[in-house]
Amino acid sequence: MNHPIECHALAKRYGELAALDGVSATVPRGQVIGLLGHNGAGKSTLIKLILGLIAPSGGQLEVLGQSPWRAHALRRRIGYLPESATFYGNLSGRELLDYLARLKQAPRTQVATLLERVGLAHAADRRVGTYSKGMRQRLGLAQALLGSPELVLLDEPTTGLDPQATRELYRIVGELRADGRCVLVSSHLLAELEPHIDGALILRQGKLLAAGSLHALGDQAALPAQVLLRPREQTMPELIARLETNGLSAQARPDGRLELQVPRAGKLRVLRELLADPAIVDLDVREPTLAQLYDWLGAGPPSTAEVAA
């Protein structure tokens, strides 16, 4: 196995409840992969399995070439930022990272570098208990990077971060990717996550709903692109009629623009025609978003009937 994470028919049951059920997937090196799914979809269970904190009930899982269950030394090569990270409030940021660096047998020189990297150098000697939520989250990212891990697991990493800190976080994630590391990011904020990930693992009720690059998943879903047109004044009714004869149904929006759903297959041909149309003064193309793909896959939370079943 060559990928940082490879699993085959991976299952985890808690009594009757199947938290993960037959998940087979690979996560390649040098990529940022989104781990998506509703609450209870199995994301946290998968992360705990990857960290070797719980034993699989069935199937195989290899992380960085070995089974992670109780492989304590393996965790030296993994960085993990838990959701809503909390730390020992009585320690300063520097003391905390120093303690964790000792546990990870990471070079202690990394402590100051990482505090600088996440923008906490100025608060390094303040007690963590006085940190804002965003600062704690940045400290969480810093500790996840101790020991230069090959695999980084980030669970809802931007919770509590302001937009600038969020951008900083994803900048660091980008650096990790460029450095050949593998980053698995679990998040509910699909729009925020989308520009930063190469692919996704989408879970629903413990089952893997879809896995692959965003591009491949987009092809698989074949969702139409959204095109917004601004018609020349007085030409709206005539333009709508003309589009309809071409098989495109247009809807007027309150901002005076027309909205078209253009099928993926003939998108280029339609766009060329629209660009050549003198009744159109402006045109805006929006590709299907990760959120739309997510909805199309039916990845939302299960209905009451499903839960009962």
């Binding site: 904190l53 993994i78 838990p82 809503s84 020992y88 009585n90 546990l103």
Partner: protein
């Protein structure tokens, strides 16, 4: 550094920061000095008089206080981390669950032992300074024995606290269970034995079994270690009276105390290994 020592060093430092260690040091020193100074007040005297009587009183008091402190200092070790949300983070580091429990156990035991040594050591130093002739080599040995056995007694209750901490769902339940543990081992166990003895009328079988039943409680082993070593009439209580005809081997008593220090902690390690996270 070994992860156990890393965790232990942090817990030890935390107990200092939280002022546990300094508060215990002061408490132990004041208790020791108070008992030594006022111990003979009933006889119309104050001052450092009978060393054996002082140590006997300290043993009785230590048997109450040290288990409670051991439980209080460590009942939140694991369940507190779970409540605070730091447990998952700690377990994501390259250390086993057993190593985490072991580190916490050693750190708290170290803090308690340091406070015992510093507190009682300080008291003895003051006594020595104020009344040098009262101290003999024998007295120093007894003090050393007391500090060692008090540290082992503390360790057994730190171990019990770790076990409670691993097995309970939240910190308040752990605190409740710790108090029950204290009540059972310090008060109810001896009461039950006493009741047994009274009901049976002290028949020969009871008298033969009783000395061994005491060994099932680390608090009683601690009392035996210290009180049986003191001379007659040094304030030995009911316990030594009832076990007067039984010769306990000091080595056996220390081995038992050590066993009591290790057993609950080892159970806590095993229980935590099997716990679903």
């Amino acid at each position: 550094m070994n992860p156990i020592l890393t965790v232990a060093a942090k817990e030890f430092r935390d107990d200092f920061r939280n002022r546990w260690t300094i508060a215990l040091t002061i408490l132990f020193a004041l208790l020791a000095l108070g008992i030594a100074w006022f111990g003979s007040a009933a006889a119309g005297r104050v001052g450092f008089t009978s060393f054996d009587a002082t140590l006997a009183s300290l043993t009785t008091l230590g048997a109450f206080v040290i288990p409670l402190i051991g439980l209080l200092i460590a009942y939140g070790s694991i369940v507190g981390e779970r409540d605070d949300g730091t447990l998952l983070l700690m377990l994501s580091y390259p250390l086993s669950r057993g190593q985490l429990v072991a580190g916490k156990f050693l750190g708290h035991c170290g803090a308690l032992a340091a406070a015992t040594l510093a507190g009682f050591g300080l008291a003895v130093a003051i006594m020595q300074w104020m009344q040098p002739p009262a101290q003999t080599m024998q007295a120093w040995l007894q003090i050393g024995r007391f500090i060692l056995s008090a540290s082992l007694l503390g360790a057994s209750f730190v171990g019990l606290a770790c076990l409670i901490s691993v097995q309970t769902a939240d910190k308040s339940r752990a605190a409740g269970l710790a108090l029950v543990g204290w009540l059972v081992s310090v008060v109810l166990f001896d009461l039950a034995l006493l009741a047994l003895l009274v009901v049976s009328g002290g028949n020969p079988l009871e008298r033969a079994v009783y000395p061994y039943l005491l060994l099932f409680n680390p608090v009683d082993v601690f009392r035996l270690v210290n009180l049986t070593a003191l001379g007659d009439g040094a304030g030995n209580d009911l316990l030594t009276g009832m076990t007067a005809h039984h010769n306990y081997s000091p080595a056996l008593l220390y081995a038992l105390l050590l066993g009591w220090a290790v057993a609950p902690f080892a159970w806590a390690m095993l229980a935590f290994r099997r716990k679903e996270i």
